[in-house]
Amino acid sequence: MMRGALLFLVLWMLSGCGDDAPQREEFYAMGTVINLSFYGVTPERSKQLSEQVQQEFKRLHAQWQPWQNGELADINRALAAGQAASVSPAIQQLIEQSAVLSDRSDGLFNPAIGSLVKLWGFHQDVRGDVPPPSLESIQLLLQQNLSMHQLHLQGDQLRSDNPALQLDFGGFAKGVAVDAAIAKLRAAGVKDAIVNAGGDLRAIGSKGKQAWTIGVRDPRSPGVLASIAVRGDESVVTSGDYERFFEYQGQRYHHILDPRSGYPAKGLTSVTVMYPQASVADAAATALLVAGPNDWLRIAKQLGLQQVMVIDSQGRIFLTPAMQSRVEFVNAKTAVTVVSL
């Protein structure tokens, strides 16, 4: 009987190579859902870490949200009044980094267009299907040539040449927050984790022996278009015209505005960028979506990107060679065009 039991046990062990699933956490911050995954930590620890990350996100959001109360909101009020504003080191860094990225993207990623975002109403969590702004009001703002070059940082003093210039870091702030959260987790000794802020995600380590598997949403139909295996330290950021939008008189208006036209960007429905830092990946994805079908490749080169996938409004998929080797399409027959950088 003992021997029979032993045999049973051996077979059982052979059949069930136990897989320990990652811990998942979820909370709301920065106007989006934040999903966390941890591998190799206990459920209690996972809750603790999630609590810490949540604190960090809430702190950064309070500091960076452009319109209500908080440091950036105060800065914006000072700029509008034509006064100098004193800026904390964290926001100085945000301004400097985004100014560089704005330059390299030919101003297509442009955090200086806060007034335009506000004019469209995308600064509100809930916009509602109210009419888009008038062409005149948009053009009035465009004539201001809003750009990060109109900002001057001396020590901790920030001045602007243009009272119409308002800062809104938008998705970039989410990317920076993801990077900050990862840094915090690392400092806490976490090796394997994903921080996903509504599509801005950064993954470190792996899921045991397996790589983390990231699903990329299909912009045209509900479902998954492709998966990407991520190991080590990498960010995957997708910007899409389907993330936030409103409809007015049958017309769809999404939230990624083209600083050149003042209207939602046209031509591409989604851009996925892989890069070490989530902040850069986010600014880059925004810039490429704005750049459109003719210019995204050039801007990607200028930004030093290697791994990019874009989908145009006809549903055609374009990939850089480095991206092609990373992406696994759910439907193996998906037609793609590989374009060299």
């Binding site: 059949s15 956490e25 509900p222 996925t272």
Partner: protein
């Protein structure tokens, strides 16, 4: 065939049947997790057609499951982005109604995707 042989065949058959139950019942998109403010409030069987009402920050969201697909069908939020998101089916897919604080997520015992990029 001896008694031992029959025992062996019976035990192996049983184990295999058990494995079918274990590994085949948790195919893709088995459950729909409904969360309010990040806390899971319901776990719905995606194979059962049903309607689920959940009270959020603004009011009642209505979630419908039909033929393995789940979707928000009604929501008190002004933009109704969640309703427009459409149907969820694959494990890892999510739909979120931010204004009402309700999120849906399809889960399987062994979720294929660790994170979704959208």
């Amino acid at each position: 065939m001896t008694k031992g042989d029959r025992v062996v065949i019976a035990v192996v058959t049983l184990l295999v049947a058990l494995l079918y139950g274990l590994l085949w019942n948790r195919g893709e998109g088995q459950w729909l997790e409904v969360a309010r403010g990040g806390e899971v409030v319901a776990r719905l069987d995606l194979t059962q057609n049903q309607e689920f009402h959940v009270r959020g920050l603004l009011g009642e969201s209505v979630i419908q499951i039909r033929d393995g697909n789940a979707a928000f069908v009604d929501s008190p939020c002004p933009e109704k982005l969640c309703v427009r998101t459409g149907h969820l089916h694959h494990a890892g897919e999510t739909s979120v109604c931010l204004p009402n604080g309700i999120s849906l997520r399809v889960v399987a015992e062994n979720t294929v995707y660790d994170a979704m990029n959208f």
